[in-house]
Symmetry: C2
Subunit: 594 residues, 2 copies
């Protein structure tokens, strides 16, 4: 049977990535290590470009976002507050016969006849083992094979000549309780925490346990007060962070898509609770619209902020070369949401192996800061003078309504977290009274993107095969990586037409030197010009600049007739060539690659 | 007693870093975690600038270096080959009384009288404990206090009423065997491996152990062949990598200087063995000098390459604002070198807490690649056509001489690594024969720098206190961070002179928008202009641009008389101001901040 087409494509991408130095298997010379991937010279540049564009779009070019760079290992209490210690796990079970480990929810569904046993006896010694066991057989298979498997199971428990006890047979439909490879019963599923664990300090006791962060976001919450106090930002504002995160995936898969070490680009955008927004806008006679249409407005509640960020993030992907047609928005259904989330949109990309998540944009309410406040005992709320003033100006009925709503929301959170009814009521009341005085815990919108899967999406989207037939009728298929110039690892290659002409070589070298301080440039003298173009196409270089004999002549006709000192620019995607004055080259390139 | 002056300075720097958002303690709200530090908004930008400058200087701007970005967790065999599993450790010992753990080589030297005991007896039950113990007392102290401590020790071993057995007293000079806090004998030192350990995959057996990399360098060696084959580079060439590394330091100290999670910027520069260089240059009649004076030449052996990189790295530090007077070169003495190293130079910086290493530049011979070849069974050598041809042209005597030297070097390495004499001889002979055929394992020069300690050096070097006295005679001391503009987190602040003049505000905003796409810019309307200047001085912003009423008038005299649309540029370091046309602002800034 032929491989599905998408896997052929993935194999081609994987092979190109290794051959051209985009992605290598980590520790390849030692047989690799599952779920870990390295970026080679071209891959490292591609990744740097993507991260730089995210940072500049999401931080530097915005007045309302600042950056943070926190450590990978943090205090373990952070992961207790976030819920990761208790709930960041996959269900695992082991084969009772071979001990092989499975992810319980990924076992294929099986049907057939289950042969159950109550135990077994050693006919020689009379020794009995009372331990239930079962084997699943496909319908129609002879019971003997189940008995043979069961005998192996009891033999492992110290019986020599096994006599099975209490065989019963039951029909089973769509079960995940049996090993698909040998029919053996599995252990009941047990949660397996996906955080990598280590020990900090010279002793390795339980008190020294620490985790490699499974996400970058929590550091933003933990440092919220420090950032707020030192950055002179006011809510609404965001904190952005990029960095490595680690998840001990049971089954890493789909190349770099789901790996155990990966990089995230996350941003927490802190907003006022809706009750605070309403209080402030209700107190203003005619709230003035701010800035350009579509720009954030002071009267936006969480829903508008959330929609705004979904749209901003899609625009970002479009801006680096993923057309909207390759993306999908998936709005999570109410029953899919985490209990604290109010909405979550996944931005999906059509990968060769299926349509999968690139980024999630979640409206997380005030859950995270509230948790850290409760768990650390440090106040995470802020004081907002404008809110305090506005609240005082509201009619009493409006005040009561807003306080009641805020009270209800806080009570719901506290109750959900297991705080006793009496305590929760008192605390929620305190929070509601605080709101009237201008105090609240900010809510957040969290756009959370994976760098590695984005790189993979860019590679998959750029990957094109081109078949060309030469004059002799011989056809050749080669790869062109159609990266957007903004992300392409090399922006421009400068090529002398011929290597052995010193004036061409010197001129090409001089042009290369004049460009490299402004962008990643490449200089290549080796091989025919056609081969050099092909090499650049395969690396995804959008522009090749060729220095040829015409460079030293004047342009003969057209609008630029008479201009001397020119070069040919060859475009990667259509192979078209144009001639421009060397002096115009840098600005020509800059507007296209930045 | 007053604190030493340098600690006062460190305290001021630490305090400024927290107050202005350069550096926060990791997980501060949970009491912190020792040896881990986060970078706040300004610190994150400072760090990004430093890393970007290193990457561009060491990679993009060079023809002979490419980048790599490998994972933090790699196959554990890498750390066995590198020697880290066996030898990357500090000696640790525990107090026999309190169990407190010490780094054995950092215990203060003590002298006095050691009271030794052979054991103790319970006078009530007659039970005996035969276990030697000792307590150190400063000369002149009464023996009773030693006996009291010893009694506590034996009481912990289950004796109720302790009678000490076999007391002897011995003079002790400069010993590190006793706990300085209570005089108790310590356990003998045991090596404590500094690598953080974790488990990869769903089981946590010894086979699943992995380490967080204690350095980034090894990934470069492990991926050497992949990079060499895909990058079209020829030896000599380098591979650069930046990234996090982890060391479970027993005593992290000096703020961010020695932390447990840190970032490195490392580069392996692969060169030919001297025998290969000699073969090639001996075969050429008159080796032509290449490029500008001081540029690498084909006839350079390891010593010249090593000196070249020391000088290049010092130039780098000068280029980002650390004057040569703040740096020191320390050439390690032969007895200090690792057995495989031929030379190592530390570049030291005069930190407030002492002169300490910023970067090490080691000539590591072919040790690393040889180790990975032996341990992985994968060939790490390369084939050099030019060498093969050259070798064939050499007179037989020269051939023999070079082969003998290469043989001797390889034999020395193999013997040192414990390979048996017979095997080592055969392998070295094969290597020497290979050299004649153009094959060799590259040697390396490794400039290895720490990002975090460089950030700290830049902060310490930039930190200046300025005391100003106002018209009323009131003097105020404030901080100016004199960063080089290339590393300064914010390059330019754009300030309207007054907030409440819409035309000033709009103009300032427009100028800010025109700059921010080119550099990190900041816009600030709040507070008096003096306060805003002071805030920028404290953040290390080299230039403030002020929009004032003159902006809309023509310049009255001087060479630019009559020019309209101008701004004031205020210089951080001397407070001097100059006026330039707004249209000239961007190019004026660009040449100063890039």
């Amino acid at each position: 049977m032929a491989e599905p087409k998408e896997n052929v494509l993935m194999e081609k991408i994987t092979s190109l990535c290794k051959r051209r130095g985009f992605i290598f298997q980590s520790s390849e010379i030692y047989g690799g290590i599952q779920g870990f991937w390295d970026y080679g010279p071209l891959g490292a540049e591609l990744k740097r470009n993507v991260k730089e564009l995210w940072w500049s779009t999401m931080t530097r070019m915005r007045d309302d976002v600042v950056g943070l760079e926190a450590t990978i290992i943090m205090h373990p209490a952070i992961w207790r507050a976030s819920g990761h210690v208790d709930t960041f796990s996959d269900p695992m079970c082991d084969c009772l016969l071979t001990k092989k480990r499975f992810r319980a929810d990924q076992i294929e569904f099986q049907s057939g006849n289950a042969y159950h046993y109550a135990g077994a006896k050693d006919t020689a010694t009379g020794k009995e083992v009372v331990e239930p066991y079962a084997v699943l057989l496909a319908a129609g298979k002879p019971p003997e094979s189940a008995r043979k498997t069961a005998a192996q199971f009891y033999a492992q428990r110290g019986l020599q000549t096994v006599e099975l006890i209490g065989e019963t047979v039951a029909k089973v439909e769509n079960s995940q309780r049996f090993n698909p490879e040998n029919g053996s019963l599995l252990t009941p599923p047990v949660p397996f925490n996906l955080m990598f664990k280590t020990y900090v300090g010279p002793t390795a006791t339980e008190a020294d346990v620490a985790y490699l962060r499974p996400e970058t976001a929590q550091a933003i919450f933990a440092q919220f007060k420090n950032v707020h106090e030192t950055s002179r930002q006011k809510v609404p504002f965001g904190v952005a962070q990029m960095g490595k995160a680690f998840r001990n995936e049971v089954t890493p898969r789909n190349y770099t898509f789901r790996s155990r070490e990966f990089e995230q680009m996350e941003r927490e955008f802190f907003i006022k609770p809706d009750e605070a927004v309403e209080a402030v806008t209700a107190a203003v006679a005619t709230p003035a619209a701010k800035g350009h249409p579509g720009e954030p407005q002071p009267n936006w509640g969480w829903q508008l902020w959330h929609q705004y960020w979904v749209e901003e993030r899609i625009k970002f992907y479009e801006g680096i070369g993923l057309p909207r047609t390759t993306l999908e928005e998936y709005w999570q259904k109410p029953e899919e949401l985490a209990h604290y989330a109010r909405a979550c949109v996944d931005i999906l990309f059509k990968f060769p192996f299926g349509t999968q998540e690139l980024e999630g944009i979640a409206a997380r309410s005030d859950f995270d800061l509230s948790q850290h406040e409760r768990c650390s005992g440090k106040a995470m709320g802020i004081f907002d003078e404008e809110l305090r003033t506005a609240f005082g100006k509201l009619p009493p009925q409006k005040q009561t309504e807003l306080k009641d709503r805020y009270y209800a929301a806080r009570l719901k959170y506290l109750t959900k977290m297991g705080v006793s009814a009496a305590e929760a009521g008192a605390a929620a009341q305190e929070d509601a009274d605080g709101l009237a005085k201008g105090q609240y815990i900010p809510h957040v919108i969290e756009p959370s993107a994976g760098v590695d899967r984005l790189i993979l999406a860019l590679l998959a989207n750029a990957f094109t095969e081109v078949t060309e037939t030469d004059a002799k009728g011989k056809s050749e298929t080669r790869v062109v990586l159609r990266f957007h110039p903004r992300v392409a690892p090399i922006k421009v290659a400068v090529l002398p037409l011929l290597k052995n002409k010193p004036e061409l070589a010197a001129k090409a070298r001089a042009i290369f030197e004049s460009l490299r301080g402004h962008m990643m440039a490449f200089h290549d003298e080796a091989g025919s010009i056609g081969r050099r173009y092909a090499r650049q196409d395969e690396a995804g270089t959008p522009f090749c600049v060729t220095v040829d004999f015409e460079t030293f002549e004047g342009i003969k006709d057209g609008p630029q007739a008479g201009v001397k000192d020119t070069v040919t620019i060859r475009h990667r995607d259509d192979g078209k060539q144009e001639r421009i004055a060397t002096s115009e080259l840098l600005p020509w390139l800059l507007v296209r690659v930045k």
